[in-house]
Symmetry: D2
Subunit: 450 residues, 4 copies
């Protein structure tokens, strides 16, 4: 393993281009009106500039995956690699990703900027404060908390029941100490004691709203409609009842502008927004995805977790709310993970095991069928690991053929764009061929549970 | 009053120049090595670039004031105005100011970017998230808190007494609800319950350390030496015992770089750091002030509150720790405030009242004498208000003469640099003439209390 | 209803006899060695005196009931009435009851001293502080709590994990405010903060222990074995690790002595101990029941809730632990309650409804069969209400006959002992005839769940 | 020291007489109307019986002391000894004492039943639950707490500000964990969170009220007037606003009856009530003292702490509120304590030290003069210790003579009544001679501080 470079080594050796040069590839002029540099390699695009652009009817490619395992599947890495592959074969393509959370970065999860030779850079800025978007969301979120307690303190005209305040506080930090707290102690001068909690910032409802908003005005409206708690009589109280939406939106007016960075191969990458996939919808912002569709012909984006959870939320929440429609869905699978689904322990994954692989393929099949229920065409990206054997790879490719799905062996992690040319071609073929057959499953579901 | 423009109106009408043009005035090249743009009108100067510059032996001018009153004295406004005045008469001058705190900005205190025609811009960015420095300090501060509770949770090898943790949490928000809280509730999975508190970020010891550090290495050392609490046996425990200094410093490596903005008259202004004046030393960062002295011939800076408190801390803490020596001290006074010290109620300040003014002058005299005890030359800036009468102005100027102090009527608030030309000339005269007579009073004091 | 007297009216009109006269009926001499008067109508019998008595092989009669409804069944009332009935027909009989809890008495449940003409007196003392037994249990319980926190405060040699203290505090009060609290706040001088709770005294494990103990020494041993919490490594810590059992037992040495009062018909009644039936075993003390068996030929006692829950606990916990064996089981039923089980709403219970009554009889049948599984003979006491119709009574009596069970209409509530003569005779018949067929179901159950 | 018996040994060897025999010495008949036995050696006298007695104009003797030291002075012991001495010389005398608190008894202070051969018995009952008076006060106190939180829970019509509830909870236990707590946690079902505290029962305002009340009706009125908290607008809210006074008084109707016990020499002793001397007035109940004055010719009673604090409260609070007037004041002093006041360390007290004794006498002189300011005649009881030397005793007696005060060497601790005959004679002489010169200092003080 000594000759293999770590992600951070590769990232630090990146030959980054000035962000204005990256932006000029997608025809964004170096003007104050168009973007603001945030350092030399990151920029925030202005919403006013985006408003002047016509929609290019670019193709939207959703990257999702089989059910996640501790072995790792590589959704972000494949998204970045596919974007580089598309650019490699001459397509104007952008990848749209989520911003990583500082909390888990300092915890166990590690960064969220891809890996190997399929990364976005500058890695360290992206993984730390980046352009301050999450800090702004944290501030706006906690401003609402302060306004709530302040309202209670100064007479509580809205009759907020201190036991029924549902708007908790947030911090961009993994801090279990703040999960269950009591605030407003210390006597008459401070406030009315109540039980409270800090969530991690990415779990904030404001983060979800931020990622679904279509512009600042829409964001302000959505903020106003946040339920902050209830009266003793269980009547809902909203953020707008506290006139909180105005100042909260002011705190978010820089954050709302999408951030542009680059891949290791100097192709543009938008990184913007990042709601938790387990409790919120787990996708980058609608504003970012739509910006991508105005700036490039292909937009690669990803959704959290497996296709049953993350892609479902992408399709039934993000698409439904925003009018977006994917043209192609890529399901990322690894031989390692499929073997794990087939019952192999993590420490035995390096050994060839065809029966277990076959056993695990049912997971892949199910995700393929899930996506087909949405009327969407699917292709499979097999994210290659050095320990995968020829037999295993052949077995998986054969299986996909029996399912009527094109599958490609992808080696972007070690080879960059060279490793995703086949995948890129498959994707283009699907996109060219595409009929508009997309349908939400949400309405069906709602009808079902009624 | 209808024809008088508000601060924000004036700020929004500002004809800002690109920040690279402002920086070129002080010979900073538009290179990645020298600075990073943060938008089009703000930049962060690289410490590595500053290291390549020789010290110019620039003159350091401290702006302080009489004892503050609700009437307002205008220290920041006068600092900005003086900087514009010095530039106006052909001097290469920079003003070094503190960053405003988001907390009080959303509370009652309003921004901290000067006023009238003596402001720094872009005002709104400066008053909101600016370049994220305070967010970074908040994150680093709270990371230490999380590490403390995490250490206790995982066996508490250091025997931290949960009742004796003195490192509280911070938030850049005026939120009285968080003044007295209990954390780590919710059972075994969360932690060991303890009483805690959130301070406002500017009150963090980390903010004070940040502003006294001379470079990243020094910052890391200072962080390591923070006392976070005590054992049951009252033995101190330090941040370095938790290996916290490394990750905390990583979180501060962008924030440590001084921010450059401009005045309304397009002269350079450094805004960096901002510890609370009431509990910490209340000055901008040592790194910023030293950067100013490398980049310009004159550096105007200010200290919090009156000369007895703010200037004393500047001289006995910031100067003593950093080796800085002021060449001239400007004491800002207003006729309104002096009348208030003379017993006039706020609502009667508009009426001429010579006896009260005289009564109040003892306050000014005392501050003049205080500064002289440090061996420093003084000049007085009378920050003019429209309601000041000719008689009052004459009376005050005469008084200063009896004290052997040059005083100048300053009208920068309404006239910009035109209004501080006389003050600028006085300051230059003092600086030219300067002998090195500065002495700390701190050692005397320490001797006294022993 | 105006001519019907309330329970408290009837109780206040009672012609009580001096307690020494009541005691002389069961041959207890008026000597300090035998008993201590607690006022003129209550006494505490000395354990040392009881030790001198031989066991009379008295008969033990357990009173239980069908599944409880809001309509009320009258278990205590029937126990008191049956005791009076037995005495009426010339048998030496004692009733053994639980002490009422002050908490619910001041809340909603009302007293627990029977009703109508089948009550124990003096009612008010019994329902308020009585002889202070529950106060003593409260004190002993909370002494252990104080010792735990004190131990933690003074160095915590046992390594008690403050998050894993399972010994909560108690108060003899219905006070929901104390259900979830945080204690040990206020800084270094007070203690190590932790989450705690107050239970109602009757829910204390100490109350259960108190009622199962056979003497003071046994009580002390049982107290020593209480688990008070766990170390961080989940090792159990016991009360004896804190040497708490000695002082706790001292506080209980008066309380352990059974209290003797009288019924309205001046027959002896022992009232002693009172663990919650829903969480503990819900019977009066073993010491009291055994005292009864030494002092009289018949002992009537009751168990909480229905036969499935209360009688089961009596038989499988109290009897198994103490060696007691009941000779006869009385199941109390009311026509009202059976109709309710048959689906009738509370407000319609006054109307005759034979189909519903039949529907509800399955409940009674099930309880009869449950008791038979223990190998015990059963008789049914139909607690008569004025609104019961002839047809209903006949239907129920016929049903019992089909089940092979003697049933008696009982009117003790309005007629005192006259109303239970038939029941008393049935009970005696069963007792005379009794073969020793009693078996625990507990061992079977344990075998089953293994 | 081996031949010296401990207090508890002496107490256990006491030849107690039946309480009815003790009561017959003061002409109380053995009837239900007159008293209730609480065991064989304690009785509660009925208030209805006392109402039938005429006032005997008995003499009231207050026992107080010099400023307390860790050496101990022996106020209770001297009170008991003096009572025995008065009975010895043929006077009908009763001693009225405070009930000991269970809390400190299990803590450090030890019992409060006198010592040596001047004790009240049965010692163990007195020091543990006694007749349950403090349990009743605890219950009544906490019932009010529960009513407050219950009122807030059910709509809070009185607008009680949860931050301004001043009625804390109590427990008869030394438990520092409960000094600062938070209650009403756990969500909507429990209540509105607030900071609270448990005091020790003897510190309850209810205990003070209980001891100042003249009868049940007066007690109920006083309870109704308790301030339980304030509205947000700082309007006081009273217990009567919650209709709490009725049920609270019901809980106290047994407790209000004075408890009669006996001394080791079988003389009657009333022990009733016990408010903390440091925060409340620190004397037994008014009802007990007045009962004493009806039942005997001499009533010996004590007040907490030294004459400056305890006697002052007795005279200015208890006497002022109740109309009682002492006829004689006994100041207890020990040579050990006076030497301690003179600067001798505790471990050196056994050595003769005349200069230190003289130095310490100023303390005694001051207390004598303090009492004289009330217009009251004083005598000094020198509570003898074996280590006191002849010279020291002579020096102290001489000093008292110079102050115009009769002083007696008292050896009741080792000799019982034989040791206080001289003191008893002095007291009688003063009482016979007595003119009504008593005056309160309270009004003077109030005038002074106005």
């Amino acid at each position: 393993m000594s000759e293999i470079k770590s992600d951070i080594q590769i990232a630090r050796e990146a030959k980054m281009q000035p962000i204005k040069d990256i932006l000029s590839k997608i025809d964004v002029p170096d003007e104050n009106f168009a973007f603001s540099p945030m350092g030399r390699h990151i920029a925030k695009i202005n919403l006013e500039y985006l408003d002047t652009l016509k929609n290019k009817n670019g193709k939207l490619i959703l990257v999702t995956a089989i059910t996640p395992t501790p072995a790792g599947e590589g959704k972000t890495t494949t998204s970045v690699g596919l974007n580089d592959g598309l650019n490699k074969i001459g397509k104007k393509s952008i990848v749209c990703l989520r911003e990583p959370s500082l909390g888990p970065s300092f915890g166990m999860k590690g960064g969220a900027a891809g890996g190997g030779y399929a990364q976005v850079v500058p890695m360290e800025q992206i993984n730390l404060h980046f352009t301050g978007d999450f800090h702004a969301i944290t501030s706006a979120h906690n401003l609402l908390s302060a306004l709530i307690d302040n309202h209670i303190y100064w007479g509580n005209k809205l009759n907020i029941d201190v036991r029924r305040v549902v708007w908790r506080r947030v911090m961009d930090m993994n801090d279990r100490s703040l999960r269950s707290i009591i605030v407003d102690l210390g006597g008459v001068a401070n406030g009315y004691p109540r039980q409270d909690s800090f969530d991690i910032t990415v779990a904030s409802e404001l983060m979800a709203i931020f990622c679904l908003a279509t512009d600042l005005k829409d964001l302000e409206n959505r903020i106003g409609n946040i339920t902050i708690g209830y009266t003793r009589d269980k009547q809902a109280i909203y953020a707008k009842d506290l006139n909180a939406q105005g100042p909260m939106t002011v705190l978010l007016k820089e954050a709302i502008r999408p951030n542009v960075t680059q891949t290791l191969e100097n192709n543009p990458a938008i990184i913007h927004g990042g709601p938790f996939a387990n409790i919120a919808h787990g996708c980058n912002s609608v504003i970012a995805t739509k910006a991508g569709l105005k700036l490039a012909d292909y937009v690669v984006t990803e959704a959290g977790f497996g296709a049953d959870l993350g892609a479902e939320k992408f399709l039934d929440i993000k698409c439904r709310k925003s009018g977006l429609k994917p043209d192609c869905v890529v399901i990322v699978a690894t031989i390692r993970a499929l073997k794990m689904h087939g019952g192999v322990a993590k420490e035995d994954l390096k050994k060839e095991n065809l029966p277990a692989l076959k056993e695990g393929m049912v997971n892949l099949r199910r995700h393929i069928n899930n996506i087909r229920k949405f009327g969407l065409p699917v292709t499979v990206a097999i994210n290659h690991f050095i320990t995968d054997t020829e037999n295993e790879m052949k077995s998986l490719l054969d299986f996909c053929e029996t399912q009527g799905v094109k599958a490609s062996k992808c080696s972007h992690w070690s080879n960059g764009s060279e490793g995703t040319i086949e995948l890129a071609k498959n994707v283009i073929e699907i996109c060219e061929d595409k009929k508009d057959t997309f349908k939400f499953l949400y309405e069906k579901y709602i009808a079902l549970v009624k």
